[in-house]
């Protein structure tokens, strides 16, 4: 299987290159037979990537430590589950995994368009195969072949980092990769539209579900990563503005912008160049993210040299895409003219354009902060770095502006909003927002930015609730349905719009959770067994934590543990016992470093977070009964649970928006014309 796997990679490259040439040639010569061959190459590359991936999984399952990759990311006693996930644990495997997902999406895109949209397909297949060829070249020629063998066979592998042996960490990278790779399909259709000259909204209509799918995976991937950081890293935080995190945020920001701006092209025939630019930029950022995640380029310039070859290949590929994209857009510029002009500053178009500009502003700021060490070193020879204070400071006002637009966008009129439209739609929500701020201020909340966030959140929520209420009421009256049935039918009738609003609700909930950050409390104390520490919550609760004592577990072969030191803590909340919690430090067999497990108790409004911060592990492990004192970090974090709840709401909303509806499939071919009449006919969701 392993030999077959490597062979599959070597066969896939010529197949992919050949199919790429056939695709572009088929498009130019308008020859269906060539196009068909190109499409079959897409299936073949997918099949071969499956074989190669199975080959890698096979080397893991059979403990083939003569392979460099297996020796570095597995060991004999690793759980089978983590051996399978070894496919994406390290750089080499994850590049192959990227190829696997990409070719899978490519095959689905080709298959689902086998009977329609034929004028796009030769170029779509050609573009998709260009990208798969690139990853095959990287895998085979950039010193990252997962099938590379060592000159000897080690007795055992060096094991998987214990911090990666976690449920969230196992699903977080694949989810992000699904998001990154899914976006290749919209990019391929954009290139195809540029090449064949069909530059109306057609390509956008075909790919908008792909864009949403990609966005859905990116959002979930980011949230899973936050969850992993929160549960596993044991610092009590969930986002650190680390270059790798930023890399996943960048395409998310531009994809979000794209999801909004495509509605203007569909409805008003405007922003055609802008949308082309956004789709190319987003695709570039997904490649950039893959590159950054797995190269350590930013983290420290000093480790750059090891990865020089792959860095140059990636940079070369990204600049080629940028250049080809620019040339194609310039070449088609005359046909990318807007059908309409923005008529008023106070219009939905305008709100969408501002949403786009602000999202791009955030993208620029995050990118700048991430690349600053490289840029400053290049320009002045002196590296300059910025950290979380920079990102928080810059993105806070940007986030607030976005939040405000999230309320304004859905209810402001297209083309030109009248004074009546504004007063009627905004009077109530603005009052609710102001009342919320006032109420919280009276309740003792004093952080200005947080108050503004809560106020805006209330404003947006009111607007969305009123929209749902109005829609449901109208439907109930016209169709004579009960309220609940009318509500469900309302959503089902225009899934994209109402699904989009539900996504907005999720985002508002998440923003609200972020705004609670100034109230996070942290307590640090060293306790002897039997001693008590007190943690006060900003919501008025008092937690009393009694340190009950330590237990140790040395050389537990069954659980693959070298040692484990567990502290027992019993907790009372306002005098009511909550039970006993554990927090521990442990060292896995073959691990290079220990890991901390935290104790977390979640309530709807706050989390209690207990960390074993420090202990004299050396003496404890020797069984020294006198060395029982332990330092605990205890945190009380309001609203953290709302991040995960908001994530679920966002998932629900995007699933509703993505769900195929017979009605939309029928009308899909007739949309795309500019200047549709009647506001009711406009799909106005997210």
């Amino acid at each position: 299987m392993n030999v077959l796997g490597e062979l599959a990679l070597w066969i896939a490259l010529p197949v992919s290159l050949f199919g790429m040439v056939l695709g572009f040639a088929g498009g130019r010569a308008r020859r269906g037979d060539l196009t068909l061959s190109a499409e079959r190459s897409v299936y073949a590359v997918f099949f071969l990537s499956v074989i190669a991936s199975l080959g890698v999984v096979d080397t893991f399952l059979n403990d083939r430590f003569e392979y460099w990759y297996v020796a570095n990311y597995s060991s004999r006693n690793l759980e089978t589950f983590f051996k399978v996930s070894g496919l994406w644990a390290g750089q080499r495997g994850s590049l192959l995994f990227w190829l696997l997902l990409l070719s899978c999406f490519a095959a689905i895109a080709v298959f689902s368009n086998r009977k329609k949209n034929r004028e796009f397909m030769p170029y779509v297949a050609g573009t998709l195969l260009t990208i798969t060829s690139f990853f095959l070249v990287v895998l085979l020629f950039a010193d990252v072949n997962p099938f590379e063998k060592l000159t000897f066979t080690p007795a055992d592998g060096s094991g998987l980092n214990p911090q990666l042996q976690n449920y969230w960490m196992t699903i977080h990278p694949p989810t992000l990769y699904l998001g990154f790779t899914a976006f290749t399909v919209p990019f391929a259709f954009a290139v195809a539209a540029l090449l064949n000259g069909r530059l109306d909204a057609r390509w956008i209509v075909i790919t908008r579900k792909w864009t949403l799918l990609s966005w859905f995976f990116l959002s979930n991937g980011i949230i899973f990563g936050m969850r992993w950081a929160y549960e596993e890293l044991g610092w009590g935080g969930y986002w650190f503005w680390d270059p790798v995190e930023n890399a996943s945020l960048l395409p998310w920001l531009t994809a979000t912008a794209f999801l909004h701006s495509i509605q203007i092209q569909e409805n008003r025939g405007m922003l055609k160049v802008w949308n082309m630019g956004l789709v190319i930029l987003t695709f570039l950022l997904t490649i950039f993210a893959t590159f950054l995640t797995r190269s350590g380029l930013i983290e420290s310039v000093h480790t750059f040299a090891q990865e020089l070859k792959i860095a140059y290949i990636f940079l070369g590929f990204m600049s080629s895409i940028l250049m080809v994209g620019l040339v194609l857009v310039l070449y088609r510029l005359p046909r990318l003219k807007s059908d309409n002009q923005i008529e008023s500053f106070l219009s939905r178009e305008s709100a969408f354009v501002f949403n786009n500009l602000i999202l791009l502003g955030a993208t620029f700021a995050v990118l700048w902060g991430t690349l600053l060490p490289l840029i400053s070193e290049g320009l002045t020879g002196q590296e300059i770095a910025v950290g979380p204070p920079f990102f928080n400071r810059v993105n806070l006002p940007i986030g607030l502006a976005l939040l405000a637009l999230m309320g304004i966008g859905p209810v402001i009129a297209w083309r030109r909003a009248s004074r009546r439209n504004l007063v009627r739609n905004f009077l109530r929500p603005v009052s609710v927002g102001l009342a919320t701020m006032l109420g919280l201020w009276i309740g003792g909340a004093r952080h200005a930015m947080a108050l503004v966030t809560f106020g805006l959140a209330a404003f947006v929520m009111t607007i969305i609730v009123v929209e749902f209420w109005k829609g449901t009421r109208a439907r109930a009256r016209i169709e004579g349905e009960g309220a609940f049935k009318a509500f469900l039918h309302l959503i089902a009738r225009n899934r994209r719009r109402w699904g989009g609003y539900i996504v907005h609700v999720g985002v508002v909930v998440i923003f609200t959770a972020f705004a609670a950050a100034p109230w996070y409390q942290e307590f640090l104390q060293t306790l002897e067994p039997g001693e008590v520490m007190v943690a006060e919550s900003p919501l008025g609760h008092t937690y009393e934590l009694t340190y009950e004592g330590l237990s140790t577990n040395i050389r537990d072969l069954e659980r693959n543990l070298d040692w484990q030191v567990t502290a027992l803590v019993s907790v009372q909340r306002d005098g009511e016992p909550l039970g006993t919690f554990t927090t521990e430090k442990r060292m896995h067999m073959n691990a290079e470093q220990m890991s901390t497990e935290v104790g977390i108790q979640s309530f709807p409004l706050e989390d209690l977070y207990i960390i074993l911060a420090d202990a004299d592990l050396g003496r404890i492990l020797q069984g020294d009964a006198a060395a029982q004192s332990v330092t605990f970090t205890v945190m009380v974090k309001p609203l953290v649970g709302w991040i995960w709840a908001g994530g679920l709401i966002l998932t629900l909303g995007s699933l509703i928006a993505m769900w195929p509806s017979a009605e939309r499939l029928r009308t899909a071919s007739s949309t795309g014309r500019a200047g549709m009449s009647g506001a009711e006919a406009l799909p106005t969701g997210d």
């Binding site: 570095n72 390290g90 500053f345 700048w368 600053l372 060293t526 290079e592």
Partner: protein, 144 residues
Amino acid sequence: MKQNGRFMVGLVGVAAVVTYLVWTGVSDTMMYYMTPTELIAKIDQDPTFRDVGVKVSGRLVVNSHESEPGSMVHRFVIHDTDDESVTFPVEYRQPLPDTFTDSPDMLVDVVMEGRFDEAGVFQANSVLTKCGSRYEASPEELRT
């Protein structure tokens, strides 16, 4: 036309605000990111630089880590990744990350933020160690 003009003001406004935010954000929160060699050379050249907060990346000197149980004070020594003769002591008064291991078997790369005190000890406000998922052994290390 009038609308377009107003609109352009809005666009330029957004760009200007973002630029302003990034500009002031960088100048208020930036830190020099240096190797120990660069930092020591810079201080020799300009002694006032001692008081400037910096970010330094270096490597932990094996067996240099000491801590007083219960007091939370960690002391260790850092050397330049490329030049082992350039070293300085560090003091850190918070729990160390799990990735920080003082063991002769492995190289621990440390990134710290902080500044030197009067006694020439680097007082770190934050200590990060190189992320484990990117630690890859060379074949020779696996031979054992």
